[in-house]
């Protein structure tokens, strides 16, 4: 199998327990299937409440799916503890606000040491060596490991969260609005860095974003979600130039409107 990550009939629904007679079931994700290859970026777009964040949470293991399977390299991921460990080594996530996802009372060294301690059997010397090289990979200095998060700027913090994501050499990184809150010039730096790492390490990205400009530049394939269903999917360039579904057209128009007036 060539696909790195394959998702088959994944679904998620919540039960409302307080109704005794008419039990209500809210479906967040109706069965969806897609696959991601190495060296590729998959973008997910959709309106609020379309289930894209839920999908990200299920993939990374923060929530359990109600049904369906996730295959990583052809192997099914179950929710047993060993598989969970394997999953968090291979699928990592970067969150939206890097300022609040870093523990302010730990140094960068301790922050990056945590995933290593939990997932590997390296000794201390090797761990520190690995942290140093990872920091250099994301464009920081090895000496930054003694800093606390508040001593770094916003862009540097985002780099630290990226370092925390790649330190276990994962195969898939999920970016949940990770680029939205950055300043434009820092965002360009970050995109360049992500693209470099993708080439070096063969990472697959799953990018959840509102900014269609970034998606157009960054992604190979795209999925459009609406109310838990995939309404359109395909190669980014084709979907962007010839949107077929109403939801896609609406999303594009919201930003395309700005693009058109700019040219005028």
């Amino acid at each position: 199998m060539s696909e790195l990550l394959e998702i088959k009939d994944l679904c998620k629904s919540y039960k409302h327990k307080n109704y005794w007679f008419n039990k209500k079931i809210t479906t967040v994700l109706s069965p969806i299937s897609f696959s991601v290859e190495a060296h590729q970026t998959l973008a997910i777009i959709g309106d609020t409440g379309s289930g894209k964040s839920t999908l990200a949470k299920i993939l990374v293991g923060a929530e359990q799916a109600s049904g369906g399977c996730i295959y990583l390299n052809g192997q099914a991921l179950q929710n047993t503890s060993t598989s969970f460990k394997q999953r968090c080594q291979h699928i990592r996530m970067i969150f939206q606000d890097s300022g609040t996802t870093l523990n302010p009372s730990l140094t960068i060294l301790q922050l990056l040491d945590e995933p290593l301690k939990l997932n590997t059997s390296f000794n201390e010397k090797k761990r520190i060596e690995l942290i140093r090289t990872t920091l250099q990979k994301v464009g920081l200095l090895g000496d930054h490991m003694n800093f606390y998060p508040h001593m770094l700027s916003g862009g540097q913090k985002q780099r630290i969260s990226l370092a925390r994501a790649i330190i276990l050499e994962p195969k898939v990184i999920i970016l949940d609005e990770a680029l939205a809150s950055l300043d434009p010039s820092l965002r360009s730096q970050m995109i360049n860095l992500l693209l470099d790492l993708q080439q070096q390490m063969g990472l697959a990205y799953i990018l959840i974003s509102h900014n269609l400009g970034i998606i157009r530049h960054f992604s190979d394939n795209i999925i459009v979600l609406s109310e838990g269903e995939i309404v359109e999917s395909g190669v980014t360039r084709e979907v962007m130039s010839k949107p077929k579904h109403k939801v896609t057209q609406k999303l594009l128009r919201n930003q395309g409107f700005q693009l058109n007036t700019k040219k005028a």
Partner: protein, 340 residues
């Protein structure tokens, strides 16, 4: 006549050993009914400038300017009370994060009614309550909220963010301001809601001829809504001009970088190629470089850049750089010759 005319406004943070100049000689002018964008990265002092405009900075900040005129009135000569009266009558401000700005313990209706001042009301005291209610409903209709009954009764947490921002705009409109300062009105908002808020502001601008100062960190977001744009970097004035001037013909290396870094601006680039970006990040207040503060990051920095450049004006396109980019260089020297 200019609505607002500020020359060389500086804002200093007073500390024990050394005063830190957070905003350094920024000029800003606005005409009536104009939509001006104020663009800069976070930490460039744009919010500080807006707060100085409405006079809500505390004693730690020291504001001084060469000229600070509001509709021909020199605000620097007025006493604090008089200045407050003028500013609160004519200028209104909306902040980012509308949820955090509204009082969570009071209903929207009460908060909105509080914002309506009694000078607008007429009649006897027993009629005033009714009039206030009506005024609040009218304000809600103005900002496009049709279901005023539930909105007035509900508390901020019951509404979505876009609705809260609409309520904030309604509050700002209560005194019929001439200038509305919108400090990142759509930060952390969904794209569809963002469009709604911008469209509302644009319609207010056209219907009521209200001037708007639109503050944003992303030049790409606001270009389709503004007439003119002022760019700031690290508390210094960078460039000002009409939107098309800034966007299609930026003169300052920083503006160039800002425009280049927005992915939808360079559609001609092949996908997955490297974007142009300035190295490094914005300096912190304790370690500001001397002269042009872009210096350490600037690709065109020369020796002369350790002295802060003065502002040069070219057909209303102002730029503050010793070595402005290309094309306008020749005409500029020509213009100087003509003047001579």
């Amino acid at each position: 006549m200019n609505l607002l005319d500020i020359r060389n406004l500086s804002i200093e943070l007073i500390s024990d050993d050394k005063n830190i100049r957070a905003v350094d000689k920024v000029s800003l002018s606005m005409k009536e009914g104009e939509v001006r964008g104020l663009v800069g990265e976070s930490g460039s002092g744009k919010s500080l400038l807006a707060q100085a405009l409405v006079g809500v900075l505390n004693d730690k900040w020291h504001v001084h300017a060469d000229r600070f005129h509001w509709r021909g009135i020199d605000l620097l000569r007025l006493s604090i009370e008089e200045r407050k009266a003028v500013l609160s009558r004519d200028i209104a401000m909306i902040f980012q994060e509308p949820m955090a700005c509204l009082d969570p313990t009071t209903s929207i209706g009460e908060q909105l009614i509080e914002a309506i001042d009694s000078s607008q009301l007429s009649g006897f005291f027993w009629q005033k309550h009714q009039q206030r209610q009506l005024a609040a409903i009218r304000l809600l209709h103005k900002v496009g909220i049709k279901d005023h009954k539930t909105c007035l009764k509900s508390y901020p947490h019951q509404l979505t963010e876009a609705f809260c921002q609409r309520v904030m705009i309604a509050m700002a409109l209560a005194r019929r301001p001439i200038l509305l300062i919108a400090d990142e009105p759509t930060a952390a908002m969904e794209i569809t809601n963002e469009g709604q808020i911008f469209r509302l502001l644009a319609s207010l601008n056209q219907l009521k001829n209200m001037a708007i100062l639109l503050i944003s960190h992303d030049i790409e977001n606001i270009t389709s809504w503004t007439n003119t744009i002022t760019v700031m970097y690290s508390g210094q004035f960078v460039e000002a001009g009409t939107t098309s001037q800034i966007f299609s013909n930026p003169l300052h290396p920083y503006t160039r970088a800002l425009v280049d870094s927005s992915p939808s601006a360079n559609l001609h680039l092949p996908a997955k190629s490297r974007l142009k970006a300035l190295p490094g990040s914005i300096p912190i207040l304790q370690h500001l470089p001397i002269g042009c503060r872009l210096g350490p990051r600037c690709p065109r920095a020369h020796r002369a850049c350790v002295v802060a450049p003065s502002v040069t004006n070219f057909h209303g396109h102002e730029v503050s750089c010793h070595f402005p980019l290309t094309s306008l260089k020749k005409p500029r020297s020509k213009a100087i010759k003509e003047v001579c």
